[in-house]
């Protein structure tokens, strides 16, 4: 039914936000009733949203004890990083080969904005980083690639928040973006691919270190 659709969508957004920003940390129990009250909606749409989230590997359903926020483990991280490493590199390569002038204008605008955000505004920086990767994928002109990357990026968001207190990557990544835009503009596919691979790899290496240190 459509009404459930509207509210379930909103519930999905809100819970997704809570989980990926660690407001609901990994392993935390989830109470449908409480969430429904907090969002001022029925339990049905919340339940619907949690089903989607379970499908997206962010919520675990256990027979006996109900719903939990899915755990984060090094194994997941490994698998996720393998996928993103190769697909983001492909995305950068294709972008360098296929970029159009309007794509470049967007990349330049995002880079300019990145330069004006201070490191303290970490959330803004993350969102901008996300947009930047989206814009590169768009410049690659392959919609399936863009869709796949979008899903993987969503999963990485939680890792990023987990690592955030220890992370010093961001200003450096702004530099990387500058080089990457240059490479794409010049049509240098090898260089674009290399910069992107390094950029993504550094991120996962750092996150892995932090996770292992926390064990």
């Amino acid at each position: 039914m459509q009404l459930v659709g509207v509210d379930a969508q909103r519930a999905h957004e809100l819970v997704w936000e809570k989980i990926t920003t660690l407001e609901l940390p990994p392993g935390a129990p989830i109470n449908e009733q409480e969430l429904a009250e907090e969002f001022d909606m029925g339990v049905t749409p919340v339940r619907e949203a949690l089903k989607w989230l379970a499908h997206e590997n962010l919520v675990d359903v256990t027979e006996r004890h109900g719903l939990y926020v899915a755990d984060v483990n090094v194994e997941d991280l490994q698998q996720l990083s393998e996928m993103r490493l190769s697909l983001e590199s492909l995305s950068a390569r294709l972008a360098a080969e296929r970029v159009e002038s309007d794509d470049l204008v967007v990349l330049q605008a995002l880079r300019k904005e990145q330069a004006s955000v201070t490191p303290e505004e970490s959330r803004d920086l993350f969102d901008l980083d996300h947009r930047f990767h989206q814009a590169v994928a768009k410049a690659a002109h392959n919609k399936y690639l863009a869709q796949t990357l979008e899903r993987l990026f969503g999963l990485s968001r939680r890792l990023w928040y987990l690592a955030l207190p220890h992370l010093e990557l961001l200003p450096a990544s702004v530099e990387k973006h500058l080089d990457l835009v240059e490479a794409i503009e010049e049509g240098d596919a090898d260089r674009a691919e290399e910069i992107m691979r390094k950029h993504v790899k550094e991120f996962y290496d750092e996150v892995r270190e932090i996770l292992e240190a926390q064990k």
């Binding site: 009404l3 509210d7 309007d102 204008v105 967007v106 330049q108 605008a109 768009k138």
Partner: protein, 671 residues
């Protein structure tokens, strides 16, 4: 499934008017009205009134409901009260000097408009390169201060390339909703298109919230059915379409009334007069359809490119405030108040106070004493009580309704305007009551749901003050009402202006006014003048029977009051057809000198196809097929059942052709 009962198709129509929100439950096949419900309109949030109707109307089995359709003044109201969201309007290729020299900037419906390089010319050729970097810079600069972005590019209906490019790029640098001018209007008027885009952007969130609230209310009553909204021309669109093009719901209320009038009367030609509590709305039915205005709809000070029914509204209704104007001229409206009969029924104390007032001498019982203010609800937000007057006023009214002179004295001001209570009225925290036509009906015994004695006392006080008999005052008030409605009908149909009746004076040298007055009052000893309306009048709305008999007489025509005319507006919300129109433009592709035709472009709102020279015929045929296909698809997506398509072509001169396909069908009911 095969049970008789489950094959009944019921539809629920809802109309939010200025005073009442009406609901009607109809058997779609037999056209039988099964239930009706009326609830006060809640201007602060229309959804509340609608929820009350959905909760209050008698429904045996909600699973039988196959469609809910709503006409709402939400958009019109949000614009008039500045409740829309903040919008940045990007004008691509507009000439700033031209706009400012004609002082057109104020017409854009947002103070945040920006000029950018780009745009096309009359032949769809790029006039200037698009300054995309500059535009993205601008968006970055303003995106935190606005809620939505509207883009209108010069001659975008002929070539939307620049709008589309800005959309693609802008949606990658921000998350704000983005509205494109060419998707809302294929008319060439660039200022109206920009205004329409800006208004649409400002209404997106408003209408989305509304749709969600109505869907929730449906869910609470277990109604699982498509939701439709009425457009300004009376046709229907799905709630999803409406959420994207909220600006098209402007004036949907009066349009639905007109369609309801036609539905109930079965007449193909008629003047529909909808008498509500606040206003009387006029619309013309010709050949079975509501006439649509040639210009776009105007709302407040803004001219839009939105297609809307040709309507006329006069601020006179059953709850219009009757006051004393200049030279003891009786004034009706424009303000709407609660009838004193109603107030006294809710607060018995008011009646005893009116009794005491009637015993006073005339100089101590002026008509101001008949205006009461009262508390409608406790303010939830204490911010509205920031001024000392507002706070004192609410405290005073907490003890019950008070007449205005007493309030003025208590707050120690000279005039009611000094209290600054406008916000409190608008948010429906305090209400006003006074003498109204509804009170006169109580005195006459024609319509008496509330306290008759209160009405009699009020009329007595009002008459005493003018040393007149109450009967005489009643006659004058009704004459005034008839004059106002006849005046509205004459000016609406003739499209001529005539000074409105309230501005008094029967100037000797003004033949038009003399003719009008003589036609209404028939006073001249030798000359008889008259208006004769060729069509019948269809009266709808609860007070129609009381206001319109004399109006029909003066216009020398019949008055038809169909059964259920009091909820015709809500019926109109379900009686309309689903309609989608799509346009395709064909225009020449010229060489650089602009003299030689190289071929033709076939332009839709999304893309453009190129035809070589000598292929005008082919390109037109292709365009017609394309328009038909697009309209058909869009109508089905918008909830039409088996739509029929009509394709029309008109030329705009300059070898440019406009092909319009209209797909129309009954709404598709659930299951």
């Amino acid at each position: 499934m095969d049970k008789d009962n489950s094959s009944r198709k019921l539809v629920l129509g809802i109309d939010t008017g200025g005073t009442y929100t009406d609901g009607v439950l109809l058997n779609y096949d037999s056209r039988e009205v099964l239930a009706t419900h009326k609830s006060l309109t809640t201007k602060r949030d229309f959804a509340i009134g609608i929820e009350r109707v959905i909760e209050g109307i008698a429904i045996e089995d909600p699973s039988e409901i196959r469609m809910v359709s709503v006409s709402t003044t939400l958009a019109t109201n949000a614009i008039a009260e500045g409740k829309g969201k903040r919008v940045a309007l990007l004008l691509v290729g507009y000439d700033p000097e031209l706009i400012s020299s004609f002082n057109m900037g104020a017409r854009f419906a947002t103070p945040n408009y920006y000029y950018c390089d780009g745009g096309h010319d009359l032949y769809g050729r790029e006039k200037q390169e698009l300054d995309l970097p500059g535009i993205l810079d601008k968006i970055n600069e303003v995106k935190r201060d606005v809620d939505a972005i509207a883009i209108s590019s010069y001659f975008s209906p002929l070539n939307p390339e620049h709008e589309n490019r800005v959309y693609e790029a802008a949606s990658r640098v921000c998350d704000l909703p983005i509205v494109l001018g060419h998707q809302l209007s294929t008319r060439l008027g660039s200022v109206e298109r920009a205004t329409t885009a800006a208004l649409n952007a400002s209404l997106l969130a408003v209408l989305q919230d509304f749709v969600i609230a109505v869907r929730r209310a449906m869910e609470n009553r277990h109604i699982d059915a498509p939701l439709m909204m009425v457009r300004g021309d009376g046709t229907l669109m799905s709630d999803e379409f409406a959420s994207r093009t909220p600006v098209e719901t402007i004036h949907s209320g009066p349009a639905a009334s007109a369609i309801g009038g036609r539905f109930l009367s079965g007449l193909d030609d008629a003047l529909v007069l909808d008498v509500g509590g606040t206003t009387t709305d006029l619309a013309l039915i010709e050949d079975g359809e509501v006439t649509v205005s040639e210009e776009g709809a105007t709302v407040g000070d803004y001219e839009t490119a939105v297609s809307a029914a040709d309507l006329f509204s006069v601020a006179l209704g059953g709850d219009s405030h009757i006051t004393l104007g200049r030279e003891k001229h009786i004034r009706l409206g424009p303000e709407r108040v609660l009838p004193l009969a109603h107030l006294a029924a809710d607060y018995p104390n008011v009646k005893s106070r009116l009794r005491a007032l009637a015993r006073r001498t005339w100089s101590e019982a002026s008509p101001e004493w008949l205006e009461y203010w009262f508390l409608l609800r406790e303010p939830e937000d204490s911010r509205v009580l920031q001024s000392a007057h507002a706070k004192n006023l609410v405290e005073l009214l907490d003890g019950g309704p008070k007449p205005v002179p007493e309030i003025i004295e208590h707050l120690d001001v000279l005039h009611a305007a000094q209290i600054g209570a406008d916000d409190l009225w608008r948010q429906e925290i305090i209400g006003k009551a006074g003498l109204t036509p509804t009170d006169l009906l109580h005195v006459e015994g024609r319509y008496t749901p509330w306290d008759i004695e209160a009405s009699e006392l009020a009329l007595q006080v009002f008459s005493q003050y003018q040393f007149e008999e109450p009967d005489e005052i009643r006659d004058r008030a009704w004459r005034q009402a008839v004059e106002m409605i006849v005046h509205a009908a004459v000016t609406f149909l003739s499209k001529q202006t005539l000074a409105p009746p309230t501005e008094g004076g029967r100037e000797k040298d003004d033949i038009a006014r003399w003719f009008f007055f003589n036609s209404v009052y028939n006073t001249h000893p030798h000359l008889e003048t008259l208006f004769r309306l060729r069509e019948s009048i269809v009266g709808i709305g609860a007070p129609a029977s009381f206001f319109l008999e004399k109006v029909a007489e003066v216009l020398h025509t019949d008055l038809i009051l169909p059964e259920h005319h009091e909820v015709a507006n809500a019926l109109g919300a379900i009686a309309g057809s689903v309609m989608v129109s799509e346009e395709v433009l064909v225009y020449p592709r010229l060489d650089s000198s602009g003299l030689e035709v190289l071929g033709y472009y076939v332009q839709t709102s999304e893309d453009r196809k190129d035809f070589d020279d000598e292929e005008l015929k082919e390109s037109l045929a292709y365009a017609k097929d394309l328009a038909r296909e697009r309209a058909l698809g869009a109508a089905i997506r918008s909830g039409a059942d088996n739509p029929e398509v009509v394709v029309e072509m008109e030329t705009e001169g300059l070898d440019t052709y406009r092909i319009r396909a209209k797909a129309m069908g009954n709404p598709r009911l659930a299951r």
